[in-house]
């Protein structure tokens, strides 16, 4: 069911014709699956599929001090960026909590493309504006833009046939600008599935023609359209965190295992002081991966217990189609975060045995 306030994206009609089943995600109507979540998951793990993630936010940040602004705003190494390169970073509040996680791409000197989570667009813009120095310009172009992601082990082969062999040499987190129907498209080697893949960022006017062109070239690859159901199982197997679930304004990147995104060497960034204190005092909580030992599926918000006492909660949980077992992420007291520690997940009032295991659950070779 949909409410009146829901937004249909440019590819809605095409996806409906392809048999998509829609759900409401934040304020957008997105396809949850086309044929079956399990089949689509398998398609991305073994072959290649296309996701429409046009609901995501897209911001442009320009100006002579844009880089300095972003470098102070975000904890990762924005200073290291150069044209054609992108970086993943959380965005923190002063307390070190994660306001959002995003990808910053340097289009050219003093000109940045920032991809943010759909549900956080307004919050992010408000936060950034409150720190925006003179001479730096921020524009929210989310509603004018579209994003498609081609993901899976055969995506380089697909890209070679679709665009030419010069693009298969793109390195992870690098991008190039291409022309499609006279429109500029950013093509980056990024994704949210744990597989090799590419993402297209473009003006929404070409959404349908680009989607159709991808599906057409994809025919010889058996490329399938993939829904949000498989997007979630894919990202969770690979332990790619989801904002609003595995991290939020009150969870720090150190707790969430995102220490690799923090450049403590740089002079300052918002949240640095709080993170330094956390580092010094030790972490009370940690995000861990677990698998169920008893039968049962762990779902978000289920309580985690040790010897009958609450020690945290499940932040994401699912049936892993690749591993064929029930896995999840949980934010729990650090003392129980060691590998192989037995914990209980409370499933419908019933404590069920689980065990802390190594993350990611799934990794491509």
């Amino acid at each position: 069911m949909t409410t009146e306030s829901s937004i249909k994206l440019p590819l809605y009609a095409r996806q409906e014709a392809l048999g998509a089943r829609f759900i409401q995600f934040s304020q957008w109507e997105v396809p949850v699956y086309f044929s079956s979540i399990l089949e689509e998951h398998q398609c991305v793990r073994t072959n290649v599929g296309v996701f429409d993630v046009s609901h995501m936010g897209e911001l442009r940040i320009k100006g002579a001090q844009a880089k300095e602004f972003l470098n102070n705003l975000l904890p990762n190494k924005i200073w290291k960026l150069e044209p054609g390169k992108a970086v993943y970073s959380p965005m923190l509040n002063e307390e070190g909590g994660i306001i959002d996680d995003l990808i910053v791409s340097e289009l050219e000197e003093d000109n940045y493309l920032v991809i943010v989570n759909a549900a956080n667009i307004e919050k992010d813009v408000t936060w950034m504006e409150s720190h925006l120095p003179e001479g730096v310009e921020l524009s929210n172009i989310s509603s004018d833009r579209g994003i498609l992601a081609v993901q899976g082990p055969r995506s380089p082969e697909f890209i070679e046939q679709f665009l030419g062999s010069e693009f298969t040499s793109l390195k992870r987190f690098n991008f190039k600008t291409i022309q499609f129907e006279g429109s500029e498209v950013v093509l980056s080697r990024t994704g949210y599935t744990g597989e090799d893949g590419f993402e297209f960022f473009f003006d929404k006017e070409i959404s349908v023609s680009l989607y159709d062109a991808i599906l057409k070239t994809g025919e010889s690859f058996d490329l399938k359209p993939i829904g949000f159901g498989a997007r979630d199982t894919l990202r969770l197997e690979s332990c790619l965190l989801l904002h609003g679930h595995d991290m939020n304004d009150t969870i720090s990147p150190l707790e969430a295992g995102l220490k690799w995104t923090i450049d403590f060497e740089k002079e300052n960034f918002i949240g640095k002081q709080a993170l330094l204190e956390q580092k010094e005092n030790g972490l009370e909580r940690k995000l861990v991966g677990f698998e169920m030992l008893d039968r049962g599926l762990a779902r978000e918000e289920y309580r985690v217990q040790k010897d009958g006492k609450d020690i945290g909660w499940v932040t994401s949980g699912t049936h892993s189609p690749t591993l064929k077992k029930s896995v999840g992420l949980a934010l729990i007291q650090s003392e129980f975060s060691g590998l192989d520690t037995e914990i209980d997940i409370v499933v419908r009032e019933q404590p069920c045995k689980a065990k802390v295991i190594k993350i990611p659950f799934y990794k491509t070779v």
Binding site: I37, L38, R295, R299, H319, P321, S326, R348
Partner: protein
Amino acid sequence: MNFPSELKYSKSHEWAKQDGDKIVVGITEYAQKELSDVVYVELPAEEQETQQSKAICIVESVKAAFDIYAPVSGTVVEFNKQLEADPGLINRDPYGEGWFFSVTPSNVSELDNLLSNKEYEQLLSQEAK
């Protein structure tokens, strides 16, 4: 979609089939399609009491958990153990290999409270509106 005429249907999308003195229970093709891929089943225990229209077991798809309601009151005599190892049977063969459990009914006339296949199809077409 297929709704065999020899089955009776509940408004909550279970089917019931009289088989001698037992009643076999499963979910309809419509229900399995709505659930999408079933990945987990929590079956009732043997000898568990059922009450018509009360939740008796749980199925989970990749996305969420759903209650299954007993179409008749009685006592569970058998459950389909195969579903624990291969819950996908529910999607692949909802009226056959994907059956859930069988019950000795305490009152066979409760079957009259259920819908015929024609009535059930009518219900679905109303729900779609």
